[in-house]
């Protein structure tokens, strides 16, 4: 088992479900982390390419700690990553966050303003999990 | 830790009702925050199956039961095991004194359920102090 303790990069995975707004919020928040908040500290793993054994996802999944942003109660991202031997060290559950912040996305195809607000809050949560796992606060 | 300075606080498993979760939550607040030195808990199911070690324990250490509903499973299981049951709490009694609170949720309590659990935990803490003082 690879030693994940001193990693400078964290893998991040988003729910791939397309039938609910929760999945779309999960993806939007992960894009924000990857493209804006922690672009130098994270590697994105896509579930479907991973499960179709497409590089580089298959290599990434076992080589660094993973933060997951899961959509609904089915928790597919969590279960599929565990089946592929991933070590989940941080998790944000969109359904819980939606309850916590009291906002829900408009639809799967258009998350709307509330969905944007929710995905921004989740992106911040995920970014701080990344910082915690790397062990240093990112200099703002 | 002498035998007399320890009290077992045993909640019902209450898997079907909010007040079962309130009793469980109150127990954790008590044994992890309010009286961590003086109190312990155990699984009620161990008494149901007659686990010898724990049955012997509760026969020699003062016990408090916390039940979420009038069926009183915690009380009845402790009594059936001939435990040293000194005080019986029923969550509905505490709720009756705080009618403004509307506890909800089973997996996760709402804020009012959390508040009721803390009020219950504080009441039980007073009983624990009395038991230990009187021992």
């Amino acid at each position: 088992m690879t030693d994940l303790s001193n990693h400078k990069k964290i893998a991040i995975v988003a729910c791939a479900g397309m039938d609910k707004g929760l999945g779309s919020v999960a993806r939007t928040s992960v894009f924000k982390v990857v493209e804006e908040l922690r672009s130098d500290r994270v590697e994105l793993i896509s579930l479907v390419p991973l499960l179709s054994d497409v590089a580089p996802h298959t290599a990434l999944v076992t080589s660094m700690p993973i933060v997951i942003v899961d959509g609904c109660i089915e928790r597919c991202a969590t279960k599929l990553i565990i089946k592929k031997g991933g070590r989940i060290k941080g998790r944000v559950l969109v359904s819980n966050s939606a309850r916590k912040y009291g906002v829900t996305p408009k639809s799967a195809s258009d998350i709307g303003q509330d969905g944007e607000k929710l995905s921004n809050a989740i992106a911040d949560e995920a970014a701080s999990l990344v910082d915690k796992l790397i062990g240093e606060k990112k200099d703002e | 830790m002498t035998k007399n300075s320890l009290v077992y606080v045993i909640p019902c498993s209450g898997i079907g009702k909010t007040l079962g979760t309130v009793g469980r939550k109150a127990t954790y607040k008590l044994i992890e925050e309010l009286r961590p030195q003086e109190t312990r808990t155990t699984c009620l199911a161990l008494l149901t199956v007659g686990d010898k070690a724990i049955v012997d324990k509760i026969r020699n250490v003062p016990c408090i039961s916390i039940d979420g509903c009038p069926v009183r499973c915690a009380q009845k299981n402790i009594e059936a095991s001939k435990g040293l049951l000194l005080k019986r709490f029923l969550v509905t009694d505490v709720l009756r004194k705080n009618r403004n609170l509307k506890p909800k949720g089973i997996i996760k309590l709402n804020p009012e359920g959390e508040k009721l659990a803390m009020l219950l935990a504080k009441e039980v803490a007073i009983t624990v102090d009395n038991i230990i003082r009187d021992e």
């Binding site: 088992m1 109660i73 928790r75 969590t78 279960k79 565990i82 070590r87 989940i88 060290k89 941080g90 998790r91 944000v92 559950l93 819980n96 | 045993i10 909640p11 019902c12 498993s13 209450g14 898997i15 079907g16 079962g20 469980r24 939550k25 127990t27 954790y28 992890e32 808990t41 155990t42 699984c43 009620l44 199911a45 161990l46 008494l47 149901t48 199956v49 686990d51 069926v71 009183r72 499973c73 915690a74 009845k76 299981n77 059936a80 089973i106 997996i107």
Partner: protein
């Protein structure tokens, strides 16, 4: 002999108060009951087998029952077998922890998001068993 209720599966959780594994079995059982198979499942408090009467003890004769235990003492399995009848299936949280050594449990009251991964894996096991039992019932036409 009491007739088995069709399309309904019983779940008895240890819901043990002393260990985090008990909290996992409790929450996993509740998630299946409330969100994943709300119409197909029913539960009963394990201590009620002793505290209750014949109605409660007939539980496994009315519902094919899955027991969900947190630790090796398996009170749900033992208690159900002792007071009610042989469970149709038995599940154990520590089996999941043995299969996934990287997952750790520490909190009894509020599980962390990472600890709830164990809950999700147990939910998956319970749902699989529920669906298997319902499928068997359908095939046997009852």
């Amino acid at each position: 002999m009491m007739a088995i209720v069709k399309n309904k599966v019983g779940i008895v959780s240890c819901s043990g108060e002393e260990l985090p594994e008990g909290t996992v079995s409790r929450i996993a059982t509740r998630l299946v009951l409330e969100k994943l198979r709300p119409d197909e499942t029913v539960t009963i408090c394990l201590p009620l087998f002793l505290a209750g009467g014949e109605d409660e003890r007939s539980f496994t004769r009315v519902y094919p029952t899955i027991t969900v235990d947190g630790c090796e003492k398996q009170c749900a399995k033992v208690g159900t077998s002792k007071y009610s009848g042989k469970p149709a299936a038995t599940l154990l949280v520590t089996d999941i922890l043995k299969k996934h050594p990287e997952l750790e449990l520490a909190s009894r009251d509020e599980l962390t998001p990472e600890e709830t991964i164990v809950v999700d894996l147990m939910v998956e096991e319970i749902v699989k068993k529920v669906d298997e039992i319902l499928y068997q019932q359908k095939r046997m036409g009852n």
